[in-house]
């Protein structure tokens, strides 16, 4: 196939669907051929999911996970964007804070779990805090680099038209950095979704992460474990696809290549 040719509309749907069906079929036959008693087949997983839905747990768990991500990620964005813009705007401040940021950044949010539990106890707040932490640093870093990569011609043009520093930040630097900030937010959201599952395994008693652990611990229900895993994957994909739509906003479209 010509890689330069734009794939046609039906092709863009058709091939991924076909691949998914092939994957399910492979999975199905592997389970049958290997005579495994532990690992469920796709049909067993589907039954498990229906059972959860009937009990009203499915939607509740999904909603709980999404709510935690929304809170933690939202707080990280609300705090991280202004912090990142400020640090990018004042290189001197960034030089002071950057070493600390760079040191905190590689610490996995999971390593914060004991500390978080001491602060917030076992519960929702801990999970939300861990998500917040995981999303905060990538957002700050994206904003800092976004601001410092704004071409100097834009700043110069802004100053030439008589903008004061606050106007320059709002009308030139922020819109010029926005594509990079959106990329940072998307990465942060991906990490937040990874972390919510891990946080729910430890700190709370609802949500998809909790479902994974609970289904295993109470009666080795591997059909439910795999059902939860699939849901996590599908919802993560859906979140990412939603986020990618942001690049279609016309005032940021210029900042993106076709693929990202």
């Amino acid at each position: 196939m010509n890689s330069l040719a734009e794939p046609r509309k039906w092709e863009r749907v058709f091939w991924p669907v076909l691949a998914s069906i092939a994957f399910l079929a492979l999975w199905h036959f592997c389970v049958i051929w290997s005579h495994t008693k532990v690992f469920p087949s796709p049909l067993a997983v589907e039954k498990g999911m229906l059972e959860l839905a009937r009990k009203g747990l499915l939607l509740r768990y999904i909603a709980d996970s999404l709510r935690r991500v929304a809170l933690g990620f939202g707080a990280a964005a609300v705090l991280g964007i202004p912090v990142g813009l400020t640090l990018g705007w004042y290189p001197a401040a960034n030089q002071v804070v950057n070493p600390v940021l760079q040191m905190l950044r590689p610490i996995s949010p999971l390593a914060w779990i004991p500390v978080a539990i001491v602060f917030f106890g076992v519960g929702d707040t801990t999970a939300v805090f861990l998500i917040f932490l995981s999303a905060f640093f990538p957002i700050v870093v994206a904003c800092v680099s976004g601001v410092s990569n704004v071409p100097s011609v834009y700043r110069r043009a802004g100053r030439n038209f008589g903008l004061n520093p606050a106007q320059l930040l709002a009308r030139v630097v922020f819109p010029a950095a926005l594509p990079q900030i959106i990329i940072g937010l998307r990465i942060a959201l991906g990490i937040a979704w990874l972390v919510v599952v891990a946080a729910e395994m430890i700190a709370v008693d609802s949500g998809l992460g909790y479902l994974v652990i609970d289904a295993r611990n109470s009666g080795k229900r591997y059909d439910l474990v795999v059902a939860a895993m699939l849901l996590i994957g599908v919802i993560g994909l859906a979140l990412d696809l939603c986020f990618r739509r942001l690049r279609n906003i016309r005032s940021v479209r210029w900042g993106f290549r076709n693929e990202w």
């Binding site: 043009a157 819109p175 016309r250």
Partner: protein
């Protein structure tokens, strides 16, 4: 005709812009390298001055200093008799099309500098300058959807919309193809004849300078001085095959050629 008029003004009245013993040096690796050395220039009100010189001699540096983005190491730039100490909306610097804001539409770009004006006046100017540079029908387009020449015209329109009395243009047509470049020169002359701003135009294209300017300032190699000023006493529209045009062009080439030989 225009040339004679401006000459009279330059001699009698106060010049629009003057540089007095302007020197600019950059510090690099602990050493300071002089780039501009004792530049003395006077530009009349409404004059079109072109600056030519060898690559890297300091033309952009001179223009940035005049526009207030760089401060002189010694000496001063004066506009209307006052020392320049920063950029000002009354004099706009135009970059090679790279200065248009990609996150704003054509209209949004032109509106950018008009934030202190009432809405009706803003609308009026947007419409007027879109028409002046021939971008009708592209009001809602984003710069990514425009050609290089259209972006260049947009940047000029954005500058003109704030009614500046001076324009600084740094090789504005350098990145355009030769056909577009010719039309852009014509457009610029037409706009200048309508608006009568004082224009300082940097180029390394001698033909461009002779086609556009009232006077051409020729700069020497670094550290740059003004090596000579050539008056172009030909009326617009100029015949590029006339003997006087060719003579002036060759004279400037020679001046630059000598500068290269040293």
């Amino acid at each position: 005709m225009a040339g004679i008029e401006t000459d009279k003004r330059a001699e009698t009245a106060q010049p629009k812009l003057s540089t007095e013993h302007l020197t600019v040096a950059f510090g690099r690796n602990g050493k300071t390298t002089p780039v501009l050395n004792d530049i003395n220039l006077a530009v009349g009100k409404g004059e079109f001055l072109c600056v030519v010189g060898p690559s890297g001699c300091g033309k952009s540096t001179l223009l940035s200093t005049m526009a207030g983005f760089l401060s002189p190491t010694s000496g001063a730039v004066k506009i209307d008799g006052e020392v320049v100490n920063g950029p000002d909306p009354r004099r706009i610097f135009v970059f090679q099309e790279r200065g248009v804001f990609p996150w704003l539409t054509v209209e949004g770009n032109i509106e950018f500098g008009l934030f202190h004006l009432p809405g009706a006046e803003r609308r009026r100017r947007i419409i007027h300058y879109i028409q002046l540079v021939g971008l009708e029908g592209f009001e809602k387009a984003y710069p990514a959807e425009l050609s290089g020449g259209m972006k260049q015209r947009l940047e000029v329109a954005r500058a003109l919309a704030v009614n500046p009395d001076m324009l600084f243009l740094d090789e504005p047509f350098g990145s355009l193809d030769s056909i577009t470049r010719l039309t852009m020169r014509k457009e610029l002359l037409r706009i200048w004849e309508a608006e009568r701003n004082t224009i300082i135009f940097v180029t390394h294209d001698i033909d461009e300078a002779v086609q556009l300017a009232d006077r051409v300032a020729v700069m020497s190699d670094r550290p740059a001085r003004i090596q000579g000023i050539v008056k172009i006493d030909i009326e617009h529209p100029r015949d590029v095959s006339s003997p006087s045009y060719l003579e002036l062009r060759d004279g400037i080439s020679q001046q630059l050629g000598l500068a290269h030989k040293i």
